[in-house]
Amino acid sequence: MNAPEKYSPLVRWPAKVNEIPKEVFFREDVYQLELENIFYGPEWHPVAHTGELPNKGDFKTINVGERPILVVRGDDGDIRTFYNACAHRGNLLETRVSGNAVEFECPYHRWLFDLRGELRGAPGDDDFSPSYRKEDFGLPAIRSAEFMGLIFVTCSDETPELDEYLGRVKDALAITFNGDGRLKLLGYQKVLYDVNWKAYVDNDGYHAPLLHAAFKLLDWQGGKGEQYSTKNGHIGFESELKVPKDTGFLKDPTLLQFKGTASSKGSAIASTFPITVITKHMDMINIRFAFPRGVGQTEVHYGYYCHEDDDDEMVQHRIRQSSNMLGPTGLVSMEDASIFHRIHVGNHTPGNVTFQKGVKHEDRIWYDFKQNDEAGNLPRWEHYRQSLGFNREEA
């Protein structure tokens, strides 16, 4: 895939693989290319988990890039994905973020669609065009696939099958989903960050013990683990579970307890290209659905889940831990949220950002990293560069 001539010469991509040009974080023309080549290109994008849509008629709306998507569980129990636009004049069909419906009606001209997306009726169709056929005007479907209940969509027919696409990061995903993906929704935390989407997702293993004071104050040491990347830009972290000791620093140490079963031990992060992060830390199961709101903002929906087999005590524990540890107000993540805006402003300065921690080579990409390396992000940047067709400068 190549960038149009007007883009490529204007982005000077450095020769060293650990340098990224700052201009890609704020240029409107680059953002438009990202929408076409990445968000609407041959990539899979998580849009929902089946645990969010347990009942027939349950639906959810979300964006892929700037395209509105409707995810709905039909009256036959199957989950389908559509562009959230009336098949007639393109009016946004469903405005609610979630709910339960028996049908979807566009208020503009009262075209009515069933839960399988088929057009049930359109007023005045006796006077429609000669070639009009009702069966041709169902909701515009978008290609979808599922892994452990996580529903992906892609705008491209060229995207590889999901199993092949995910590759090794399936291992980390399986850990985050307690091994089987039988999850139930506990709720959301939603936030709009003033940051380009790439800087939002460029968080790394290097910063964690440095930015987040809670780890030091709680004497919370990370367990042994590994980080790996795939050629198509996914990143996986897998590590043994380490629970902070009760140092007396917090008055209520129960918040930091691990109550999971043996099968749910371990911490994992699965970051799928381009923008989704899925984590399992202690007893928190978290999917961060995200999409850009233009070149300078990123909206993130932190979805939290329990497992279908949890007893009431475990559910309550997950609710307490999830509500207080992660997200834009979380004990060990608020600082991430606060750093995003600073990154975005700072990236408007000239030059390149540089990765150093864990960089073994400057002239080629590799795929296995230590847990606290920031170099694990470099294969994703290489996939990004290739997706947009930017040429690397000669060394």
Binding site: Y188, L192, Y193, S323
Partner: protein
Amino acid sequence: MSNLSIEILSALDNAQNGYINSLDTKNMDGWLANYTTDGSYICIAAENEANNLPIALMLDDCYARLQDRVTYVTKVWAGTFEDYQTRHFTQRIGAEAVGNDTYKVITNYHILFTPEQGQTNVLVTGHYQDEIVLGDTALFKSKKAVMDTNVSPRYIVYPV
């Protein structure tokens, strides 16, 4: 229209004013002092509240958690975030006695924030569902801040 006396309504309003003043002056110990020793604080998005989804943005369901909220802001996060000034604007819209000098109070709130660069914007709007005990000092037995702002415009450091 409340049938409570002017004196009681005034005491309830004073409690609310004391609460928002402690936040607007970034006085976290003062914020804690607004609560009874069995007090609780929950900040939750209206979307979750409406759909019976329990995940909150802040869930301090016991006094120890309230104390830890103070520790978060004053010790854990100190020096790591770009600070901002809040201004809370509130309007009581309902109050009723529930016995034992305790009152359930509903109050709309609107919170503006001004980061260090100086541009002011809306942080969140919503309503409080409070239980206030009027004793020698008016204290919150529980406070739930339900946020209409389901998508908050930034990270939130201080309680709402």
